[in-house]
């Protein structure tokens, strides 16, 4: 029995099915991320965990208790919102104390809790200000303080960084991670940003259209995406999808790609059973941009490295590398090259591919061929 169990939870409004059967289990102290595009149902699921919306069918259990029928205040949870939701007519101190007052916590204990929380989040000097007098980052920390003060068994975050500017987002993100490491709290965190998902989570649930498309650790999701949707959603720039025909050479997989300056046969890893069934048929090859680079930057002692030429169509310098757009079998592909190697567009470039992490997808079902 984990800290949070979501069992076949469905949510519909009449004929519109928002959540189509969600199953997720996490243990105490884990950081669960619900990530997906707008409209995938992640915020609805969070609201149902919090008790702000009711469940059409299924069960949600926090710890040992099934909480379907419990109101939010009885679920031992705390929530941090995208818009902070601080009470505007109260000082920071009163904001944090509001929930404690309702629970009739004695005044002395309240002061102690507020003091402790303020120290953890470094908001001691803000305690007597009103929310309008705080900056965005400060407001977010006060919102987290309000949640911390309740010492719940489950913390819920609803896109808390979306209203912050880019620099502040990175700072607060790392503060949240530190807080999690220090306090060992169980967290459910909703975001549409895949970088937040990867950097913060212990477990990620990638959602689309009311379903969990994959549930796993960040590295599992990155290296072994279950389908093309997950593969294309996580990772920036996104994975390259190249349509090709699967062939078998010496018991290993091979594909032929046309890079605009000739055809090349790329030798990949050994064929699995599932993959063998597709020999001679069309597949979609998935290669992440960092696996495609200039030969000097590639690990030259890798015996499986494949080299070929391609025309660089677009160059996008990012600082540490330059993203080179090329065409493989007519599909756009992006390679990460060292800035000094990728200097001119329209020029033929020599590239190296590391095939060890390449993945294959069935074009019809879009599932990975494992």
């Amino acid at each position: 029995m984990g800290a949070l169990s979501i069992r076949n939870v469905k949510k519909s409004y009449g004929d519109t099915h928002i959540l189509k059967g969600i199953d997720i289990e996490i243990d105490k102290g884990q950081f669960l991320i619900l990530v997906g595009p707008s409209g995938c149902g992640k915020s609805t699921l969070l609201n149902m965990i919090a008790g702000l919306d009711d469940i059409t069918s299924g069960e949600i259990a926090i710890g040992e208790r099934v909480v379907n029928k419990l109101s939010p205040k009885d679920r031992d949870i705390a929530m941090v919102f995208q818009s902070y939701a601080l009470y505007p007519n109260m000082t920071v101190r009163k904001n944090i104390a509001f929930g404690l007052d309702i629970r009739k916590v004695p005044k002395a204990e309240q002061d102690e809790i507020i003091g402790r929380v303020a120290k953890t989040l470094q908001i001691e000097h803000l305690l007597d200000r009103k929310p309008q007098q705080l900056s965005g980052g400060q407001r977010q920390r006060v919102a987290m303080g309000r949640a911390l003060a309740r010492n719940p068994s489950l913390f819920l975050f609803d896109e808390p960084l979306s209203n912050l500017d880019a620099k502040l987002r990175v700072e607060v993100r790392s503060e949240i991670k530190q807080l999690h490491q220090r306090l060992g709290t169980t967290i459910v965190y909703v975001t549409h940003d895949q970088i937040e998902a990867m950097t913060l989570g212990d477990r990620i649930a990638v959602m689309k259209d009311g379903e969990v498309k994959q549930f796993g650790t960040p590295q599992q999701i990155y290296d072994e995406p279950a389908n093309m949707y997950v593969a294309g959603f996580i990772g920036s720039p996104p994975m390259n999808f190249i349509p090709c025909t699967l062939a078998e050479i010496d018991g290993r997989a091979a594909v032929t790609v046309d890079s605009g300056s000739g055809s090349h046969t790329l030798r990949l890893g050994p064929l699995s059973e599932a993959q063998r069934a597709f020999v001679g048929k069309s597949i979609v090859l998935g290669i992440r941009p960092e696996q495609l680079t200039d030969p000097a930057s590639a690990h030259s002692d890798n015996p499986d490295l494949q080299e070929f030429d391609a025309i660089a169509e677009i160059l996008e310098p990012t600082g540490p590398d330059t993203l080179v757009t090329l065409k493989l079998n007519g599909a756009r592909a992006v390679a990460r090259c060292h800035p000094s190697m990728a200097l001119h567009t329209g020029v033929k470039m020599h590239l190296a591919l590391d095939p060890s992490k390449a993945v294959m997808f069935d074009p019809a079902t879009e599932n990975r061929l494992a």
Partner: protein, 289 residues
């Protein structure tokens, strides 16, 4: 390059504004000056002239002992009617504002099945003229058996005012983010605590709008007053009408003028004190803060 302050266009605009102000304020000027003159001066003098001998007699007559409705009597003056209006207005304004706030809160934060239809129905009420309501209201009051004039008027004004006060509060509360209520629910606050501790303190501008609007509507109302009240318990608008329309004997213009100004004082005062809150309240929530 013409100096901005002295352009021809600007002069013309100011001239037009001053002219309109004079035109608009002329009646008030005449009322004030007439109320300070003696009857002889009124009969012999110019409408627009200033009084030669200032006299506050008319004011005392209007307030206290002047005859209302018949000659040679010593009936109660405007004071009684003023108090009647006050007794009717204060509860009606407070009750309609409070219930309106409550309605607005429910309609925006605790939407239920049919709440939008309910709101539409309420909105239609704001378009109904007073006259449409009179007959049904009279029947309801008869059925309820409420005889007391002040009570009847308070009930009528509360019911009629609810559609406006609900509208004001609901329109303001929909601009308050729903996450505030969600956060409060998670903190453990219930329906009433959220209303009194979180939303109401936020609504000061809208409360001001409601108060100003309701005070103006209720104090100035004549129709409901004349239909639903009688005799000594009538509000000041009805009392004033009675005073001014008595045609027996000599018309005491100065007393009439003084009485009219007395009747207008509360609404003038509310405007003077609250007009900036009125504007602020109507635009509250218009810009994201």
């Amino acid at each position: 390059m013409a100096d901005r302050n002295f352009s021809v266009g600007r002069t013309l605009i100011y001239a037009a504004l001053v002219l309109m102000a004079v035109w608009y304020l002329a009646p008030l000027y005449v009322m004030l000056t007439t109320s300070l003159k003696s009857l002889d001066e009124i009969h012999s003098g110019n409408l627009l002239s200033l009084p030669h001998h200032f006299s506050l007699d008319a004011w005392f007559d209007a307030w206290g002992t002047d005859c209302v409705g018949s000659e040679d009597c010593t009936g109660a003056g405007m004071k009684g009617y003023f108090v009647n209006s006050l007794k009717m207005m204060v509860p009606a304004v407070l009750i309609s504002t409070l219930i309106g706030a409550f309605n607005g809160y429910i309609l925006s934060m605790w939407r239920f099945k049919g709440s939008d239809t309910f709101f539409m129905a309420l909105l239609i009420g704001t378009f109904l003229p007073f006259q449409v309501v009179i007959l049904p209201m009279a029947q309801v009051l008869a059925k309820l058996g409420i005889e007391n004039s002040t009570g009847r008027l308070v009930l009528v004004h509360v019911v009629y005012g609810l559609q406006f006060t609900t509208l004001f509060f609901r329109n303001y509360y929909v601009t308050v983010p729903g996450e505030l209520v969600k956060a409060a629910r998670i903190d453990g606050a219930g329906f009433f605590r959220i209303f009194f501790k979180i939303l109401l303190p936020l609504s000061i501008p809208t409360i001001m709008v409601c108060l100003i609007w309701q005070v103006t509507q209720i104090w100035n109302d004549f129709l409901f007053g004349v239909v639903f009240s009688s005799g000594e318990a009538q509000p000041i608008t009805v009392g004033l009408n009675n005073l001014v329309n008595t045609s027996t004997g000599v018309k005491h213009y100065n007393v009439d003028m003084a009485a009219a100004i007395i009747a207008a004082i509360p609404t003038l005062f509310v405007y003077a004190v609250g007009s900036k809150y009125f504007v602020r309240g109507l635009t509250a929530g218009a810009v994201k803060g």
